[in-house]
């Protein structure tokens, strides 16, 4: 499927802007701690995510993946430590450049898909209707369907439509494959990093589906009880340990 990417053309015409984006880390976390009462969801996390990479955030339930993504998205504030998204503290300015796709359906059930896209476009001028139309077709969704009437799998696809229709510099995907039937997962993953991804985009994907998602990661971070258990370039880790990411997931986190 061939897609005309409005945003990509824009960047092709402005190489200086692309250069500036690549020069700066997409996300920098320093000594990040998040407490919920007496529990620490994140415990002194130091991470830097380079721009233009696909990062896998791997860990069991309760390891702090969602909390980390929400802090980067500006939905939660850290208990201590600093967060920089393209050099800025999370806020309105960073939200213009970040697409956050939460695990659960977070869209208004009374809206139709087209109304939702229009609503999202009024906040994100980088959202292209043309791309949204192609994505709707690809995800097999109808514009007049109400969000509340969609199945769990369709809602998961809708999230991807809203996220991928944008030309966001950073995409945060929390369990994007949850609810999607196994035969469609490979196709959707391919769409995520292939035809629908723009070159400058940084993707941070939290998932349990390590085996299926492994081929798309440039960089992986294993989180265990709020701490970074292991991180590195996916290819280098495979070469140095002789294990696949799925095997490493078992070894590091079990």
């Amino acid at each position: 499927m061939s897609v005309t990417m409005q945003g990509q053309n824009q960047y092709q015409q402005a190489p200086a802007a692309v250069h500036a984006i690549y020069e700066q880390p997409a996300v920098q976390l320093t000594g990040l701690v998040k407490r919920y009462g007496l529990n620490k969801a994140l415990d002194g996390v130091d991470l830097t995510f380079e721009s233009g990479k696909v990062v896998g955030l791997l860990g069991h339930n309760g390891s702090g993946k969602t909390t980390m993504l929400k802090i980067i998205a500006g939905l939660r504030s850290p208990s201590s430590g600093t967060v920089k998204v393209f050099g800025m503290a999370p806020g309105v300015k960073t939200k213009q450049r970040v697409a956050f796709l939460p695990e659960v359906n977070a869209y208004y059930e009374w809206m139709t898909i087209d109304y939702l896209i229009d609503f999202a476009k009024s906040f994100h001028p980088d959202l292209s209707w043309e791309r949204a139309e192609v994505l709707k077709k690809f995800m097999d969704l109808k514009g007049e369907s109400k969000v509340g009437a969609l199945s769990k799998g369709q809602q998961a696809r809708l999230k991807l439509v809203i996220g991928l229709a944008r030309n966001a510099d950073l995409m945060l995907l929390d369990e994007p494959l949850a609810g999607i039937d196994p035969p469609s997962r490979a196709r959707i993953l391919q769409a995520l990093v292939g035809e629908f991804r723009q070159e400058h985009q940084t993707l941070i994907i939290s998932t349990h589906e390590v085996k299926e998602a492994e081929p798309i990661f440039d960089h992986v971070v294993f989180l265990c009880e709020g701490k970074v258990a292991l991180q590195g370039d996916a290819e280098a880790l495979r070469a140095s340990t002789g294990h696949s990411m799925e095997e490493l997931f078992g070894e590091v986190l079990e």
Partner: protein, 254 residues
């Protein structure tokens, strides 16, 4: 301004259901009152048709709260808060939508009561001699009365929103914290407002005339209003709005 109005329109659409339910309830009440006119007396049912106006003041405040609370209840808060609009923009759009809804409901209630009044001859009653009232002398009272009620709706609505958002800064016992915060904010705002209005009592008094209906008929009574009370109300509204926006922007967890 486009994101703000887009959110405002979304809130109006979201509150459409409540508005229609209220409209149906008012219409049903008025039809019921019509059937009671013979046994209760025309003037009693006409007066009863205005009762919903008093309830509406609380409904307006409640609507402001519900528009915020429903984001968390329906799980849409992560999407809303990931949009590039400040916390003040979100709170402002919701407050404005609740206020618009309240104004519309009040006008509908007044219009239905007006229809009652228009029907007076059907019940063997004479129309009130409204044209004979000294309207030019009552303008001050009407303006102060209407602005006072508007201020009360905004004041109550923003206190309820602030109290709810205060509860959202913790992950447990947030309902309890919201309830305590609501009572505390109401107490501090009213007591503090009284004290500050006293301090500002040196400000000029605003004279106005109040209509009075007694056994001897219609009369006009002279009154004054401490303009310090208006200053206090505006100050408190500004302070509470700032606090609610800050909580939405920086502290609420979603």
């Amino acid at each position: 301004m486009k994101p703000f109005f887009s959110l405002y329109l979304k809130e109006l659409r979201a509150s459409r259901g409540n508005f229609l339910i209220f409209l149906a309830a008012i219409a049903a009440l008025d039809v019921f009152l019509m059937t009671r006119a013979a046994s209760w007396g025309y003037w009693n049912v006409l007066a009863a048709s205005f009762v919903p106006l008093a309830l509406l003041i609380f409904l307006g405040m409640l609507q402001a709260l519900l528009l915020v609370r429903d984001e968390w209840k329906a799980g849409t808060a992560p999407f809303l808060r990931s949009l590039p609009i400040s916390g003040w923009g979100i709170v402002g759009a919701k407050m404005l939508a609740a206020f618009t809804s309240w104004v519309a409901m009040s006008l509908v209630t007044l219009a239905l009561s007006g229809i009652f009044h228009a029907c007076a001859p059907w019940f063997g009653m004479e129309w009130l001699p409204l044209a004979e009232l000294p309207w030019s002398r009552m303008i001050g009272f009407i303006v102060i009365f209407v602005l006072g009620i508007m201020g009360a709706v905004l004041f109550g609505g923003i206190i309820l929103q602030s109290a709810y958002l205060l509860g959202r800064i913790v992950n447990r016992f947030n309902g309890l914290l919201s309830a305590v915060a609501g009572v505390a904010l109401m107490y501090v705002a009213t007591r503090g407002g009284d004290w500050l209005a006293g301090v500002l009592s040196f400000l000029p008094k605003i004279p106005f005339e109040v209509p009075s209906f007694g056994s001897e008929g219609f009369a006009i009574v002279s009154q004054t209003l401490n303009s310090g009370a208006i200053v206090v109300l505006v100050l408190e509204l500004a302070l509470l709005f700032w606090a609610a926006g800050w909580l939405m922007e920086k502290r609420a967890e979603s």
